[in-house]
């Protein structure tokens, strides 16, 4: 067998070696050689309807599995359409590899047809990116791309491949080692620091675990569970960390932050030790940073040294992989337990009593009405069907917050949303990716009427692949979160937030050959959702919810997180 191979085949060979099962992509002029090679290749190509959605679908796939998602686009407009998806993956630390075509190397810089400086444009949108100028470098680069995407703090890596590199022929020899002298991955964690952390945890009277996406990325759920059970520490999980502990776990309080629960925010504010695991002290969690957890010492565990001290300077930094660090930490904790556990036992029981009291004072209770469908009611019914087991994807906005508040996730990798970047139109394509990754799972795409209208083209993809994604449009006829802020902070001067036109869901779905319907009565909700779930194919359920419902509790921007608002505020006039 001759091992002379085209660049396109070499790329596919490398993807197979990396275990890629499917590519979410959209072809074009310069990727023709690649698509020609795909004609006889076992890797499944999923034809999306917009490149941005290819990147989102790859993230849905990656977030549902922990594996690297792959997306592909042509040069110029194809590549620029990927950009939002790349930044989204960067912000949420999702491992994806994006392959883009580029004009032939000789034409680069000549303003050739469909040319864009993809390498330059995506430099700040990716963890790392490559422009492949020589075919000989291609295998090495592709394997490096997967390695960089999936190790350390995961993220998107883009490989830009000119057409002549796809077409060129070269001898292929498998890559056996990766040498990246500047790429530093700190996984182990400093043993001395971890031992000190264990001591600090036992010394604390009001400890609190504050964990996030890093737990899910490193697969540290079991270790986290051991930690909270061993030390009987309460835990809050960030938006990106939901599912890291089962929602039903007794130590789990809820999500903290801007729309977190009262108990979670009060616990953060009154804790004397924050055990921060794979979190980045994001502004949506901390509120006014200077008042965040003012009494707490902070142990900060993160794999990315640049996160340590970025927003809050920790008392004890540990750079390492959450799972490995927690394994060691749990070992130290249990060694110390017999002597250390009883010391603060009484104080800790009082701490737990206090937290239970906060929970009772302001529980997170979904609003339900008999005259109209409350959006919270939708989440309640979805939660009932899911039982903490379904994959739920969302966009950004009010529906996202309600979903995070009221839907249980009893395993990691069930809750897939656009957290850091907050991209509208993420939920539906991400659900496609998740459904491809987990065909066995019930997958909901909970989207707003705004975001859904950014994703409508993907109904064609759902129909074409028969993906049984259940789309639930939480339709209030508004860009709800923006309206909420206009109401509260801009003197109720609503501007450009009303979405007064929405397609007839049944006809829209039917136009794509799938089932759909619109409901607006509370008694229709449970049966309609059941019908959607029982439908073997995709389903579009448009739920007309009460238009003026807002997300509470809320920490107004710039406030401390214990300054929560539990219902409609007096509107604040905007200073002229």
């Amino acid at each position: 067998m001759s091992n002379l191979m085209s660049g396109a085949r070499m790329l596919l060979e490398c993807l197979i070696r990396e275990g890629a099962e499917c590519i979410f992509g959209y072809p074009g002029g310069v990727t023709l050689p690649l698509y020609d090679a795909m004609y006889e290749n076992p890797i499944r190509h999923v034809l999306v309807r917009h490149e941005e959605n290819a990147a989102f679908a790859a993230q849905g796939y990656a977030m549902a599995t922990g594996k690297v998602g792959v997306c592909c686009a042509t040069s110029g407009p194809g590549a620029t359409n990927l950009v939002t998806g790349l930044v989204n993956a960067l912000m949420d630390s999702t491992p994806i590899v994006a392959i883009t075509g580029q004009v032939a190397t000789k034409l680069i810089g000549s303003d050739a047809f469909q040319e864009a400086d993809t390498f330059g444009i995506t430099r700040s949108c990716t963890k790392h990116n490559y422009l492949v100028k020589n075919l000989a470098d291609l295998p090495q680069i592709v394997h490096e791309a997967f390695y960089i995407a999936s190790t350390g703090r995961p993220g998107p890596v883009l490989v830009d491949i000119p057409k002549d590199v796809f077409q060129g022929q070269a001898r292929y020899s498998p890559v056996s080692a990766i040498h990246l002298p500047g790429y530093k991955v700190y996984t182990e964690g400093h043993t001395g620091q971890i031992r000190r952390a264990a001591q600090m945890i036992w010394d604390a009277r009001r400890p609190l675990v504050y964990a996030g996406g890093g737990i899910i990325a490193s697969g540290a759920s079991a270790e986290l569970q051991t930690l909270v059970e061993l030390t009987e520490t309460p835990a809050v999980l960030t938006l990106m960390g939901l599912g890291a502990l089962p929602s039903e776990h007794p130590n789990f309080i809820s999500m903290p932050g801007m729309h977190g629960s009262y108990a979670a925010n009060m616990a953060l504010t009154h804790s004397d030790l924050l055990i921060a695991l794979g979190v980045r002290f994001d502004d949506r969690v901390t509120g006014r940073l200077s008042s965040f957890a003012p009494h707490a010492k902070v142990i900060h565990v993160d794999i990315d040294p640049a996160e340590i001290g970025k927003n809050r300077v920790p008392d004890l930094p540990i750079v390492g992989d959450a799972r490995r660090v927690l394994q060691k930490l749990n070992k130290f904790l249990s060694e110390m337990a017999p002597a250390a556990a009883p010391v603060n036992a009484a104080a800790r029981q009082a701490w737990w009593r206090q937290i239970r009291q906060w929970k009772e004072e302001h529980p997170l209770t979904p609003a339900v009405s008999s005259s109209e469908i409350k959006p919270q009611h939708v989440m309640l019914e979805i939660d009932r069907l899911s039982g903490g087991q379904a994959i739920v994807c969302s966009d950004v906005g009010q529906h996202q917050m309600w979903a995070a508040q009221f839907i249980r996730f009893n395993q990691p990798r069930l809750w897939i949303n656009s957290g850091g970047l907050g991209s509208m139109g993420f939920g539906l394509p991400a659900a496609m990716g998740a459904q491809f990754a987990r065909p066995d799972k019930l997958v909901f795409a909970i989207v707003g009427d705004g975001g859904f209208q950014m994703s409508i083209p993907e109904l064609a993809t759902l129909a074409s692949y028969g993906l049984p994604v259940k789309i639930v449009v939480v339709n209030n006829g508004y860009l709800g979160m923006v309206r909420q802020w206009q109401e509260l902070f801009y003197n109720n001067r609503l501007c450009a937030v009303e979405l007064d036109t929405f397609p007839d869901a049944e006809k829209l779905a039917a136009a794509y050959g799938i089932k759909g319907r619109t409901i607006d009565r509370p008694e229709q909700l449970a049966p309609a959702l059941r019908e959607a779930v029982e439908e073997p194919g995709p389903y579009l359920l448009n739920v007309r919810v009460s238009p003026y419902e807002n997300v509470y509790p809320m920490v107004p921007a710039g406030s401390a997180i214990d300054e929560m608002v539990f219902g409609p505020l007096e509107p604040v006039a905007v200073p002229k």
Binding site: R123, H128, S176, I178, K184, Y186, E188, P305, I308, P317
Partner: protein
């Protein structure tokens, strides 16, 4: 106050853009920047002088260090380091001023690299502040042109000299090269 950052980076296309991107994304203006290959042709040494908000300095260093092409970054602003710059000056020198100009040049250790009826081309290296003074004096002689190289820096702290830090590779001994690390550890 200006911050002087010294970097060892892979000599690859885009490496410079990535490093400066950390600064430009925040709207910082780079005062000076020098890059050149090291003895090892696969690496370059970069010196950046930039006015960074003091609160963000360590974050900027860490974010540069996070870049895949960056092997090592050090903030040499407040550490033991030599910082030098070179300046090229052309100055019009009519007959009556020639001796004076040469005297001044001598005081600053500058060398004459070209001499003509119209004037001199001078070359001086040294501490950037010294060069400021030299430029100021030459300016007083009238028509004049100047090019500065930007600063180059070298740390004098022995620990910062290592050229081969632990390198993660995929195959084999994953455990051994994983850096045990607290911050900067």
């Amino acid at each position: 106050m200006l911050q002087v950052i010294s970097l060892l980076v892979e000599n690859k296309p885009g490496a410079l853009m990535r490093v400066t991107g950390v600064l430009t994304a925040r709207g910082y203006n780079i005062e000076s920047l020098t890059v050149a290959r090291t003895l090892d042709p696969s690496r370059s040494r970069m010196t950046i002088v930039v006015d960074v908000d003091p609160a963000l300095r360590s974050l900027v260093i860490k974010q540069m260090n996070r870049l895949v092409n960056v092997i090592q970054v050090s903030d040499v602003t407040d550490t033991r380091a030599v910082v030098r710059e070179m300046v090229l000056i052309r100055v019009r020198a009519p007959l009556e001023r020639r001796t004076a100009i040469l005297k001044e040049a001598e005081i600053f250790g500058a060398r004459v690299i070209d001499s003509s009826v119209e004037g001199f081309a001078l070359e001086a290296t040294g501490d950037p502040e010294k060069l400021d003074e030299f430029i100021g004096i030459m300016q007083s002689y009238g028509e004049f042109e100047v090019t500065r190289s930007g600063r180059v820096a070298m740390s004098l702290e022995a620990t910062k000299l290592k050229l081969s830090p632990p390198v993660p590779t995929r195959s084999g001994t994953n455990q051994s090269q994983i850096t045990n690390g607290v911050l900067n550890g």
